[in-house]
């Protein structure tokens, strides 16, 4: 299915005017090295907030999957983190600590993220991707503390919104076929592309990571899209809030079970290491933290 066909289908269902933006991002390189930021003249196609990620093998040499035979299929991914405005439109209330329509939603569990994706699909007339059985106890959930434990299954043929897989996230964050093998998503300098403990508060912090410093500096999330995008035109894949992903976290990037779900990207609290392309992390699915949000994806 072509991009135009895909979104024509959705737009007919929504009876909304098709919004197709062809965005040329001319990144000012004043004070920045051309080899240390994303494409200087990047033409990307953003459709209803989503970017088509052309699949293939991993090009980024810093990726965990560089040189492997893993091939990623084409998929769509949100140009931005899900904002609080977008969340409230679907869910009706805002759980975020740092309230602002344009900031990423946070303080949501993995289960909340699943329900959001399904509800957004329903509102858009799309087939929900996830089947959620709240009465069963998931045997693949190895957490001792998670008392939610819903059984959530994935319909890979559904056309609705979903969380990215960990492999998809790493592929998109590393720039896909346009990758320049940056350490962070879009740059080797995190300050260019992401919010983390040094730059998320009132002053730029030096020294080592120290929570009281960060707290006294009023560290917090920032409105999405304020830093430079990566090679594919995607914003905030390093920093701001960490992102819930579909997979269990395990040695494999496609684990069948685990204590927690994969999370990626690092956030405003972290020291920046977690914002690296290859950095893997996890969180038990029931946790809700003010530096943990989501980004949506869809099948092509």
């Amino acid at each position: 299915m072509s991009l135009a066909e895909f979104f024509s289908k959705e737009d007919i269902r929504l009876n909304r005017k098709k919004i197709i933006l062809f965005v040329t991002i001319a990144i000012s390189l004043i004070g920045l090295s051309a080899c240390d930021v994303a494409d200087a003249d990047l033409t990307i196609e953003v459709v209803n907030g989503f970017i088509l990620v052309e699949g293939g093998s991993f090009v980024s040499t810093v990726s965990n999957l560089y040189g492997t035979d893993v091939v990623v299929a084409d998929f769509y991914i949100g140009q931005h983190l899900v904002t609080q405005r977008e969340w409230v439109e679907v869910m009706g209330s805002n759980p975020s600590k740092f309230q602002d329509d344009d900031r990423p939603v946070e303080t949501i569990s993995w289960y909340d993220a699943i329900l959001f994706a399904n509800e957004k699909s329903r509102l858009a007339g799309l087939e929900p991707v996830y089947s959620v059985d709240q009465d069963q106890d998931d045997p693949n959930n190895l957490s001792l503390d998670d008392d939610v434990r819903w059984v959530v299954t994935f319909n890979e043929h559904a056309d609705g919104y979903r969380l990215p897989t960990e492999i998809e996230w790493e592929y998109a964050a590393s720039g896909g076929q346009r990758s320049r093998s940056y350490e962070f998503s879009g740059s080797n300098e995190l300050n260019n592309v992401g919010w983390y403990f040094r730059n998320s508060g009132d002053e730029y912090l030096d020294g080592f990571w120290h929570w009281p410093t960060l707290e006294a500096n009023n560290g917090q999330t920032r409105p999405v899209g304020q830093k430079l995008p990566n090679e594919l035109g995607i914003y905030d894949m390093s920093g701001n809030v960490r992102e819930w992903l579909w997979n269990w976290h395990g040695e494999s990037l496609q684990a069948d079970s685990g204590v927690g779900r994969a999370i990626r990207g690092g956030g405003w609290v972290g020291d920046g290491e977690a914002s690296r392309i290859h950095f893997r992390d996890s969180m038990e699915a029931h946790y809700q933290f003010e530096d943990l949000g989501l980004r949506l994806a869809r099948n092509r």
Partner: protein, 243 residues
Amino acid sequence: MTKMKKILIAQMRKVLVAAILSTAVLGSAAPALATLDFHQNWTSDTLNGPANGTSNGPDGTATFRSNMQTGNFSAEWQTTRANSRFNNLHGLGWATGRANRRIGYNLGFLEHHSGHQGMTIGAFYGWTRSPLIEYYVLDNWLNHRSTPGTLIGTVTSDGGTYEVWRANQNGHNINGMGPFVQIKSVRTTPRPMGQNNVITFQNHANAWASMGSPLGTEWSYQVYIIEGWESTGRGNATVWELP
């Protein structure tokens, strides 16, 4: 001898005397490995203190002097109003830690002048990932040493006995928010001040592993710090790495 030669010889003598004095003063406290690569000078008022200078804020002031080359730093701090929650932390260390690091330090002095609920400490401190652990080797404390968590054993190292306390925390950490383990070796008797002390960190890492809390495989920063919490005090320390 010409005047010029006399001046030259006098200058050479000065350089020689300075070198001898420098060696005598530093003695074995001179950094064996000049690997210190960053400093922290922080107060809850001013956030980014200079490497050398005074920070003034509504709750307190702190003066910090540091020399990355010699490993020496000093701090003097004062709360300026009652019931303030003034917190200050100063230190020198390494951006990347390791289990087999042996450090020498000389805590010239550490004083807790006031703040009956507060505390003042000298400690070796850092983080690892995989698993995520915040660790302390707490050699000196003044006023009190409240330690959260569970006493899980003791370890003998560098001529003293340490209690090992472990706490499961859930909050802010170097990765973001979430669960992590905090583990502390707390020396039962504070180390003497004004003399060279050694921390053989491997002994602590091994003990913690034997108690079920192995440190992670990825190393974040590792520092020697002087910290004051709701206190007025001062301290001076020199830290260096041993082979």
